[in-house]
Structure formats: structure tokens, C-alpha cells
Symmetry: C2
Subunit: 192 residues, 2 copies
Amino acid sequence: MKLLEERILKDGHVKGGNILKVDSFLNHQIDVNLYEEIGKEVYRLYKDSGITKILTIEASGIGLACVVAKEFQVPALFAKKNRTKNIDGEVYAAAVESYTHGITYTIIVSKKFLNPEDRVLIIDDFLARGNSLLGLVDIVKQSGAALVGCAIAIEKGFEEGGAILRGKGIRVESLAIIESMSEGKIVFKNQS
Amino acid sequence: MKLLEERILKDGHVKGGNILKVDSFLNHQIDVNLYEEIGKEVYRLYKDSGITKILTIEASGIGLACVVAKEFQVPALFAKKNRTKNIDGEVYAAAVESYTHGITYTIIVSKKFLNPEDRVLIIDDFLARGNSLLGLVDIVKQSGAALVGCAIAIEKGFEEGGAILRGKGIRVESLAIIESMSEGKIVFKNQS
């Protein structure tokens, strides 16, 4: 997606340790018009797939999931990191190792909101090692719903997450795939 | 807001310990069309206030903040709970006691994204004891920005948060205020 790639080049910053900072427009401060364009592009990619639910994980996926869900006119659903008293009843749960936070936590989704009739699209802002997405895939599997695919804003193509997911036969659409960012120079994979 | 009150009556559930479950449409699964109506109502209430930024706190405020920000055509910004390696540079920080999670944590906002020229509207899905909002108010104050007010989806009017905030002279607009919910019967405050 040209618009997103241009914005990454303009406002993204590469930091040591392979960190790409896009906090001015994607995952701390949010450019809601860019989000809307991302939502439209995801809709274009998956509009014929009979999606019934958009699934993401807190926190930074939630805004994108809402905007995408608006395009599809279906509910958004976000997996919670397990520390709340306020989810009752039965939940689907999966373990997720967080590279960013250096911990492993449990993510949960209430069983009320995913069932075998659902056709699920998973959304997230980033795909790197793929741990969050694999946790969400696990939850979709537990529910018996059909996993239609994943849509990601930015994939770090030089990390293994994309290959792992695609290797499982999962459709993964990343709107910008970074092939390399050594010495601060961002190179995108040509997807056209 | 009639539409929200009706939805709470239809799909909300009162649990022991003064818990109102609205996880089927507001803060786990999300009805994005309801969100859009909430966004329009918040815009109607604050449209003449020169808002330059929408501020919320992760996680469940983020979706609402994005939808509201879209109406105002300004950026959304969410305070992060302090456990990430990915925020660099200087941050505003405030302590927040979480009743729901039974812990105190630090919330942070990068100094890059709030400054004295900003006019800030704070958004959240719930107002009960007011701890999250007071943390956000503190951060706005540290930044030197003008706090225009707060907009909340559901206020528990029988808890003290609303009175504390309004007692500080802060404009607080809650789209549904629950006066009582004893014995499972939800009574709203008449705001018309």
C-alpha cells in the first residue's frame, strides 16, 4: 500500500535492535485518516470472503480492528491480556510470548463471541515473530470458526512470523512488508 | 443518549459487586455502528471547543477514541500502561490505581505528542471511581495543554469519579449515567 509505505519513510524511525518506531501515526498517536485508508484496503483484499468477525489483540490492534470492522459491517472483537476480573464465563485462552515486553501472558476471548459459524479475519498493526497472531490463530481454531486470513499494517519481512503463518497455509496480507532496515535505510518488498 | 441507554438495557448484564457487563457491544466485542453514533454525539457536544487531540488510555478506550477522532478530524492518542521497551525519549507519566485489575500502574504518553498549543478531549468507555481519567488529566496538565473536557460512554453515577472530576471544574459529558443498578434493575439519570 503506497500511502502507508510513504508514511513509514516520512515519519518512521529505525532504532537499534531492529525496532521501527511508527508511534507518531500508527500505534501511540494515531492518524485516523490513514487508518481509514488501511481499512478500505483490507476490505478490498477480503471483501469476497464472507467475513463475519474481525479479531485482534489489545492494545494497539483495537483501533485498526474497529476501522476495518466498519468497512465490513461486522463486529470487532479483541482478545484481552488476562488480568481482568470482568470477563466471566467460559473463555478461549492461548499463551503468547511478548518480545516487546519480555514476558509470556495469556490472552482470552469469551466463548460467547466466536462460534463455528463465524468466518474470522485477524487484524494487527505489526507482524514480526508472529507470537500474537499465532495466539489468535489458536483461539480461532479452538472456537471452530473458519480462519479466513490475517491483515497486517506492517510486516517485518526479515523476521520469521510471516513465513511461519504462511507455512501453515494461512493467507497473510501485509500492507507494507519491510525487507530490510539495516543502517536506518528502510527497503520494502515489492508487492505489486 | 437514548440509543446507548436502550442498548445497555437490552444487552447489558448486572453482576454482583456493582459490575455492569457490556462486553457484547462496548468493551470486548464492539458494535462499530454504535461506536460511530457515540462518536457523532461526542462531536455534537464538543464541536465548538477547538479540539486538537483526542486522548484515551489503553485498552478499551482506543476504539472509541479513534471513532471520535475521525469526527473531529484530529489525531487520537492513547496512554500506554508502562511495560513496553518501545517508547523512547521523554514521557509524561502518572500513577493509576486499577480497581478492575487490583493493581497500581504507571501510564505514559510521549512528550512529542502533547504540547501547550493542544486542546485535549479525554475519552473513555467507563467512568466509575475516576482513577484512569484522573491519571489522564494529570498528564494533560503536565504537558501544558488545555483540557477541554471528558466524554464517557457509561458513567456509574453512584460511584465517586464523576463528582471528583466535576468538582475540579472539569466538563464531563457521559452519554449514559447509571443512577442505580441494585437488584439487577438499571436506572439512568435523566439528562434531557
